[in-house]
Amino acid sequence: MTKQILFIISLAITLGVFAWSVKRLWAFFKLTKPSYPIKNIGARISHTLDVAFGQTKIFRKPVIGLMHALVFWGFLVITLGSIEIVIDGVFGLERSFAFTGWFYDFVMASGDVFALLIIVFIKAFSLRRSILRIKRFTGVEMSSKSYWDAQIALSFIGLLMLSLLAFNVGYISNHPNGYEGVYPVSAAIVNLVNLDLGWLQEPGWWIHILLIFVFANYLPYSKHFHVFLSVPNVFLANLEPLTKYPNLESITKEVKLMLDPEAAYDESEEVARFGVKDVEDVSWKNYMDSLACTQCGRCTDVCPANITGKLLSPRKIFVDLRKRMDEKGPIAIKGEDDGKSLLRDYITEEELWACTTCNACAQECPIDISHPNLIMDMRRYLVMEEAAAPAELNTMFTNIENNGAPWQFSPEDRLKWTEG
């Protein structure tokens, strides 16, 4: 009974703190603009099965991809076990999902094996960060905070798996005459170690579930929030062709007005700012992308501008967006302003103009973030609100306006190529 009460109190604290974090983020989301409508649920489900559950984009780097995929699939089965632990804890039961029979055996056996695999891979991931110098884990946006964030999250996951194994080992030892579920790794440990390991069951159980509770509340402040947000982010992804850049509706109205002077002007409509200057101008999807981003750097790794030494790093755009929202969000909620903005105080014009919109970053992103569209949204602000395009681009604009071509040629000469 005491155990039950203690457990319910810990669960309540966990949910309470988590709800507070969600409320804070919700208020930030309310500052953002609408995004594309979420339609085609069928296509979205199959896209999610492919990219999220099938890990197809992760496998674009096959070796590390397989390790990630095994950790991800392991997490899925282990999560079922965690739900069981919560139900057991609240109602004072033991192995309450055992009634599912072969399914239970399958889930427990996979969880037990995955736990060991995950420990091995997590150790490899951690060493990869501390020993190997991998270029995509460096960059101005990768602070030491980001490094420790990764190491802390990896340690959490490692300890979660160790405690799960300890719990399983203790449970098997305490039930010499038969137990629920199948545990290949833990049973092997029990057989190998000739000691009574029954005492591991209770501490293993508690440490495992309490770590989950703490980890869950650490995540909303970590780049490892992707544990929660990457699957929804893939589900809500932009399914249009990568190079389709949405038209601005507010401009369509203005252009129609210009071409047809008789069209009525609706004065009741608020004149919106064109493009993105600060966090209030981004869409909710842009902000969600920034929260879901794991900072893996696959985007920056393939960016032609970054490869050739330019300032642009697609990852930095989204790291900056999240940072700026942490700074501006609480101020903006109060209706105040700090005189700073995402543009210039975080992201420079030099970065924005270096993008070739080749979409290598968006193609690579394992959770379908669209970097070029946000970069172009910021260019829209620069050009349409400040007329701050590089001089050569202004020349190109003038040429299109005057001659209908980006170069200075007369439309009268449009058939010259046929003349030879």
Partner: protein
């Protein structure tokens, strides 16, 4: 150019005669004005003539799709261009449009519909591939016998619109084989000119993007590199020149390969 004048039907002339062609060939600004890409426009028009396709161009009535303006942030200018073009296209009741430029293709196909321009937009590599598959385009000669070729994926064709196989099929129909680059298909490296970069100097860095790409092509040790985009054409041609490899490596457009194979 030493070639003689090409017969290229113009939409307005056909309309005056009460005729309506099956296809509109959207030449694009590069096809109309860029010295190097004019040759590609000529090559493609010759192929259309050879196949006796019913087509026309807009000629003086064609105007920039607005792609570069849009990617550079000038949505106002883009939409002005789009609305004007759509007005012209709709007045001629255009249905099928063939584009050589993948930037024009992407804009017409993906960004015009919401502004009232709904057409069946076809990329010329898809068109050529289909003509070969259907047996309408017969390629018996290989003027490049003994030469090897690689293919550089234009971003707006490949990653943007998932057209990877059509251009390769066309090149293979003549060369028999395409040697793949280290970074190809969806992993392809940009030439450096997309997103309005074509019209400005690059930002400060260690290297130009087209040099990075050209070096990769040179490493592949091929005689030819095929591409299917006017911007890629410019960037790779410049890269090859800068690397002093013009005698060993030439840049050809997919349409030019067919033109040469057909001896047009």
């Amino acid at each position: 150019m030493t070639d003689k004048k090409l017969h290229v039907p113009v939409m307005a002339d056909l309309a005056a005669k009460g005729e309506k062609p099956e296809y509109l060939y959207w030449v694009g600004c590069a096809g109309a004005f860029d010295d190097r890409y004019q040759k590609v426009a000529r090559a493609f028009a010759k192929i259309l003539n050879h196949l006796e396709i019913s087509y026309a161009v807009l000629g003086k009535e064609e105007s920039c799709t607005g792609d570069a303006a849009k990617r550079a942030g000038n949505e106002m200018l883009f939409q002005m261009q789009a609305m004007q073009n759509i007005e012209v296209l709709n007045a001629y009741e255009v249905d099928k449009i063939i584009c050589t430029c993948p930037h024009c293709y992407n804009t017409l196909k993906n960004e015009y519909p919401e502004l009232g321009g709904n057409y069946n937009v076809i990329n010329y590599t898809e068109f050529l591939d289909e003509m070969i598959q259907d047996g309408k385009l017969k390629l018996e000669n290989n003027p490049f016998k003994g030469e090897s070729i690689t293919y550089h994926d234009p971003c707006y064709l490949g990653r943007g619109n998932k057209i990877y196989d059509a251009p390769r099929n066309v090149v293979k129909a003549v060369f028999g084989d395409v040697k793949e680059l280290k970074r190809s298909r969806s992993f392809g490296l940009c030439c450096g000119a997309g997103g309005a970069q074509m019209f400005k100097e690059a930002e400060k860095g260690d290297k130009e993007v087209n040099i990075e790409r050209t070096e990769e092509i040179i490493e592949r040790k091929v005689d030819k590199v095929a591409s299917a985009c006017p911007f890629c054409m410019t960037m790779l041609t410049d890269g090859i020149k800068l690397k002093n490899k013009e005698s060993e490596l030439q840049n050809l457009d997919v349409a030019e390969i067919i033109e040469k194979a057909l001896e047009l």
